[in-house]
């Protein structure tokens, strides 16, 4: 006999250096469990391939060996790198996966004992046929600014592939909602991050938020953060946050970093990706940087 009651399953595991939450609902508990298992397996796979810390990951292999010889990577790693390079081109290098050396200098990533070319940028990364990656200079990449979004997309694909009709995957704030129902997402207050400054309603859409409030620290008596502008190498010190909504979480993830650096100058890029961007000031005041024209319903209310 078929039951009409819907069961909701919500799980959370420590992955990708943060807390990853997967939720779905439906009538068949065993099927939901299987879908959730597949979603976490996809995220674990992204972690295995793209972790900066795991010496056996594609990222670590590239950082050790892609200069001076090329390295073959998994198609998923390739896909993320391809997207990263496109975002780098489109943002004139504000988004740059080659900033890992600076993050390591500042203690956000472990230091490596090989020598790096301090002038190296994303333009020294070459993607060749058959999933080969080659670095023209000795450099170090970190996919932390984009892989989390990709992992969320893969988890959603795994849920759908296992019959899930609706749900949400939230990797520490980078999230994607799918299915017919919308979800309310609370946004952390940029200077009081354990409180909510507001909320957005999302349906069939991804959102990522970048802010520095949990990661700020002192370096040589200056305040620093892991939010680095690839063009200048400077890290952001402002207690603001930028949230970007887009159809894919990988896009939203990368665009938050770009908008953090470019602000209003990134509007054309947001339009190109049919993305929306919301800025929260230090005091929690919200303002839109851009609203995609495809959505004219439910205009922003600030009352």
């Amino acid at each position: 006999m078929r039951s009409h009651s819907s069961i909701e399953i919500r799980r959370c595991r420590p992955l990708l250096g943060t807390f990853v939450e997967v939720e779905t609902s439906g009538a068949n508990a065993a099927r939901l469990e299987r879908a959730i298992g597949a979603a976490f397996a996809a995220i674990e796979k992204v972690q295995r391939l793209m972790s900066f810390h795991d010496p056996t990951s594609d990222v670590s292999r590239m950082n050790r060996e892609a200069f001076p010889r090329s390295v073959i990577v998994h198609p998923w790693t390739w896909k993320v790198l391809e997207a990263a390079q496109q975002f780098a081109r489109e943002s004139d290098g504000a988004f740059d996966v080659a900033i890992a050396r600076r993050l390591a200098d500042h203690g956000y990533l472990p230091r490596r004992d090989y020598r790096f070319d301090s002038a190296a940028t994303w333009q020294d990364i070459f993607l060749r046929k058959n999933y080969r990656v080659f670095f023209r200079r000795q450099l170090m990449i970190d996919l932390g600014g984009i892989a989390k979004g990709f992992a969320v997309d893969q988890a959603v694909a795994a849920l759908k592939g296992n019959g899930a009709k609706k749900g949400i995957v939230n990797a520490g704030g980078d999230l994607r909602v799918f299915g017919s129902t919308s979800q309310v997402i609370h946004l952390r207050h940029p200077s009081k991050p354990v409180q909510a400054a507001g909320a957005v309603r999302l349906r069939d859409r991804a959102m990522a938020t970048s802010g520095i409030y949990f990661a700020r620290r002192k370096y040589r008596r200056r305040s620093i953060s892991p939010m680095v502008d690839g063009r200048t190498g400077r890290s952001s010190r402002e207690l603001i946050s930028v949230s970007v909504a887009a159809s894919e979480c990988m896009t939203a993830d990368a665009l938050t970093k770009i908008i953090f650096a470019l602000r209003g100058k990134g509007a054309a890029l947001l339009a190109q990706y049919h993305a929306d961007a919301l800025l929260l000031e230090r005091d929690g005041e919200a303002s839109w940087i851009f609203r995609s024209p495809c959505d004219t319903r439910d205009r922003t209310r600030f009352d």
């Binding site: 919500r10 799980r11 959370c12 595991r13 420590p14 250096g17 943060t18 807390f19 939450e21 469990e33 989390k148 949400i168 939230n170 520490g172 704030g173 980078d174 999230l175 017919s180 919308s182 979800q183 309310v184 997402i185 609370h186 946004l187 952390r188 009081k192 991050p193 354990v194 409180q195 909510a196 400054a197 507001g198 909320a199 957005v200 309603r201 999302l202 349906r203 959102m207 990522a208 970048s210 802010g211 520095i212 409030y213 949990f214 990661a215 946050s241 949230s243 909504a245 159809s247 919301l278 839109w288 995609s292 959505d295 319903r297 439910d298 205009r299 922003t300 209310r301 600030f302 009352d303």
Partner: protein, 174 residues
């Protein structure tokens, strides 16, 4: 189906209240079945001696906060452990499954609580959750279901698991 994205301003009370985000994912029985489906479990709590405690701290480099560890023996081999960690803003109860060869099978977060203003460090605040892990449902701030914001690190869980693996070597394995 149309994509939707709208900003909702929150009432002032929600903005100034010393809010706490809390989620209950799994109780003990649910966590057991999530990690070891279809198995049965026998409670085998462990009380650490001072010597064991020191040895665990030395091996893992992580402080042991409690002498008592909630442990279950899993039918067919393996262990199920419930543990908690305290961060600057977060207090988390989680379960770990350790299989016969001593490796971690799976980690599941059971309860996640986040608050502001130093409450996490207070025994009294944490004590209100003690004993609620097994059956009763607990819902604080149930309006806040999903949060987006800068990523909160899971480093304390990573440290906790390191400590549990040392605990396994020192207090469970033999």
């Amino acid at each position: 189906m149309k994509a939707e994205f709208a900003f909702i301003a929150l009432p002032v009370s929600a903005l100034i209240a010393p809010s706490a985000f809390a989620v209950r994912y799994l109780n003990v029985e649910q966590a057991q079945q999530a990690i070891f489906p279809g198995k049965s479990f026998t409670a085998a709590p462990v009380k650490l001696t001072g010597v064991q405690r020191k040895a665990i701290e030395q091996a893992s480099g992580v402080r042991v906060l409690h002498d008592e560890q909630q442990v279950w023996r899993v039918s067919g081999g393996g262990w199920f452990i419930v543990d908690e960690v305290v961060g600057k803003h977060e207090f988390i109860t989680y379960a770990a499954g350790i299989i016969a060869d001593g490796s971690v099978k799976q980690i599941e977060i059971m309860d996640y609580r986040e608050t502001y203003g130093g409450q996490i460090r207070e025994q009294k605040w944490r004590a209100q959750f003690v004993g609620k892990t097994s059956r009763s449902t607990l819902k604080l701030d149930s309006d806040v279901k999903n949060i987006s914001g800068a990523t909160l690190s899971c480093r304390h869980i990573t440290d906790g698991v390191k400590r549990l693996l040392a605990f396994y070597e020192i207090a469970l394995k033999h």
